[in-house]
């Protein structure tokens, strides 16, 4: 072992410097794609295909944004997406927390077996059930409506049930029992005690749900046909098909589509990170 004092001190300083260097370099690498996206979105098309490429735009064309967005019925796609996302989010929050309450705070026969089924469905690739699901919704006459995108969220999501249950389990049962003795109904306990105490995990579920449905592409692709019903993801794909090489416009629209997520991330960062940590708790 090296002697304590000057020698180990310089070694510590050097290793600190290396750590900061690595983290700094990594940060640049991580941020570069976003910088590239913003930079491209502001270039005139003639500059996009300049060789060698300009790292910073030499001429900034703000009008790329309104021009590109006007090629889409952007408002309509935004409204469609927001409508679907909000209804999915509400369904997942409400139903998953009710189900999770039964799995964590109530004692009943069949609980263990059923919870194992919940865990198993968490691991199931959704595409396996996609075809029959498509057929079911087709029989119900719901193809090309928002129903196939929204309805499944109102049956509870196994991943969120798992997350909420893990969190509810950390509350003490004594509080529930005291409330019941004071004449509070079981549902009252859920509504007035469990939910208010679970804001961090509810926030995490809301954010995950928002993130998932905002980005979702596979299900809208399968279930929506009429262009007036497109979500932003489908609209973006359509835009790409039409303006495939106008990279400045493509970057502008893509960035606008990402923007709500980035904004929510910066405002609710704590919930995001907490939420991910809940999921990682083995």
């Amino acid at each position: 072992m090296s002697s304590k004092g000057a020698g180990s001190n310089t070694r510590q300083i050097i290793s600190k410097i290396i750590v900061y260097l690595l983290l700094g370099l990594g940060s640049i690498v991580v941020l570069l794609p976003l910088q590239w996206m913003i930079s491209t979105s502001l270039k005139p098309l003639s500059h996009v295909f300049r060789f060698p490429p300009e790292f910073w735009p030499q001429k900034i064309v703000w009008s790329n944004y309104p021009d590109a967005l006007s090629q889409l019925p952007f408002d309509l796609y935004f409204a469609n997406t927001a409508f679907i996302v909000v209804l999915c989010l509400l369904g997942e929050l409400i139903v998953s927390s009710i189900v999770a309450y039964a799995f964590s705070r109530l004692r009943w026969r069949g609980r263990n077996v059923l919870f194992i089924v919940v865990l198993a469905t968490m691991m199931l690739p959704r595409q396996v059930t996609m075809i029959p699901e498509f057929i079911v919704f087709r029989h119900l006459g719901m193809i090309d409506t928002f129903w196939p995108l929204i309805l499944p969220s109102w049956f509870g999501n196994p991943f969120y049930i798992f997350l909420l249950r893990q969190y509810f389990l950390t509350h003490s049962r004594e509080l529930d029992q005291a409330a019941v003795i004071d004449g509070c109904s079981r549902f009252g306990v859920f509504w007035r005690i469990t939910l208010p105490m679970s804001k961090p995990v509810l926030g995490a579920v809301a954010i995950f749900s928002f993130q998932f449905h905002w980005n979702d592409f596979f299900r809208p692709l399968i279930f929506l046909l009429d262009q007036d019903k497109y979500t932003l993801a489908l609209g973006l794909r359509f835009f790409q098909g039409t303006f495939g090489t106008e990279w400045n416009s493509l970057m502008a629209v893509s960035l606008v589509v990402m923007l709500p997520l980035i904004i929510v991330f910066f405002f609710a960062q704590k919930h995001f990170i907490q939420g991910v940590v809940f999921t990682g708790y083995k």
Partner: protein, 315 residues
């Protein structure tokens, strides 16, 4: 650790002996009923239905026709594409998952060294993990552009002439692996939380015993983190094998089917060719493949996943 043990540990019902109250049971079933209904309607029935459908030929419009094992015969013997698609999907996963774990762990370890600005670094590294879908796919398509893209521009700064990436049969899979590495922050956050939960006295004791940095990582950090890594590995397999949007947007499976991931092929059969029976067979084979991979990983767990409770029994 077996699957059953894992689930039992997950469920947290070990050692509960309880009496059930009738009212509570009724209420509980009422509360879980939406999920039960959803499970029957949107999972159990579709699973069985797709298994049944896989023995039929059906284009949705005309009545289905029973064909026995013909779909499976075609899948394994006459149509070369399903096994090719499965192969490249597995190769992609075998490259992408370990790299994501190694990078995620390394960044988390760097962040866990009492540095200033932890919150800022964490935000930067985590940001790409929240973005996904079509917008990200389009961004990366542009980054991989061979003449004007960011990646080859950066490589040129080092005097390297980069490949055509998405246009190259050889480089298209590495391109997808690189793209997925961008969102390494998702796993990193989880490892960081795991690292912060390791008691510091373990490291202090090791230092007193003369353990070097390398030994501390392999004897303390990694074993303590192994349950987290295990969980990430399992979810990583399920998530990574399902790659779809990126290939649909960026390459449409090309060039020459080099990025024809399994779900893209499944999608084409089901929703472009309307071969619902064949697509159901494809879906079931995919399901079994993922299940097998997951079970293999579970089987290896007893060699490398370390649970504190188990070590107590050893002592």
């Amino acid at each position: 650790m077996s699957l059953a043990q894992f689930v039992k540990k997950q469920s947290g019902f070990e050692g509960l002996n309880i009496t059930y109250q009738r009212g509570e049971t009724v209420l509980a079933w009422a509360m879980v009923s939406p999920w039960v209904a959803g499970f029957l309607l949107l999972t159990a029935f579709p699973m069985v239905a797709s298994l049944a459908l896989s023995f039929f030929e059906w284009n949705i419009l005309t009545p289905p026709e029973y064909v026995g094992l013909a779909n499976y015969h075609k899948l394994f013997f006459t149509d070369p594409l399903p096994l090719h698609a499965l192969k490249i999907t597995v190769i992609f996963s075998l490259a992408s998952i370990p790299l994501n774990i190694v990078f995620g762990l390394s960044i988390a370890m760097l962040l866990n060294t009492n540095i200033r600005g932890l919150a800022v670094f964490r935000t930067i590294y985590y940001l790409p993990a929240i973005l996904s879908g079509v917008a990200v796919a389009i961004l990366w398509q542009w980054i991989f552009s061979s003449d004007f893209g960011l990646l080859n521009t950066a490589l040129r700064a080092f005097g390297i002439e980069g490949p055509a990436w998405l246009g190259s049969k050889i480089w298209v899979l590495p391109a997808f692996v690189i793209m997925r590495l961008w969102s390494v922050g998702g796993g990193m956050i989880i490892y960081l939380a795991g690292l912060q939960a390791i008691p510091t006295d373990l490291y202090e004791a090791a230092e007193i015993d003369g353990a070097n940095w390398w030994q501390r990582i392999f004897r303390i950090t990694l074993p303590m983190l192994s349950p987290t890594i295990f969980f990430q590995l399992i979810t990583g397999v399920i998530f990574t094998m399902q790659i779809f949007t990126e290939t649909f947007i960026m390459t449409d499976g090309g060039p020459a089917n080099a990025s024809l991931f399994y779900l893209l092929y499944l999608y084409r059969q089901a929703f472009q060719n309307f071969k619902m029976g064949y697509a159901s067979a494809l879906a079931w084979v995919f399901f079994i493949a993922i299940l097998l991979l997951t079970l293999i990983i579970f089987a290896t767990a007893k060699f490398w996943v370390f649970y504190e409770a188990e070590s107590d029994e050893d002592n």
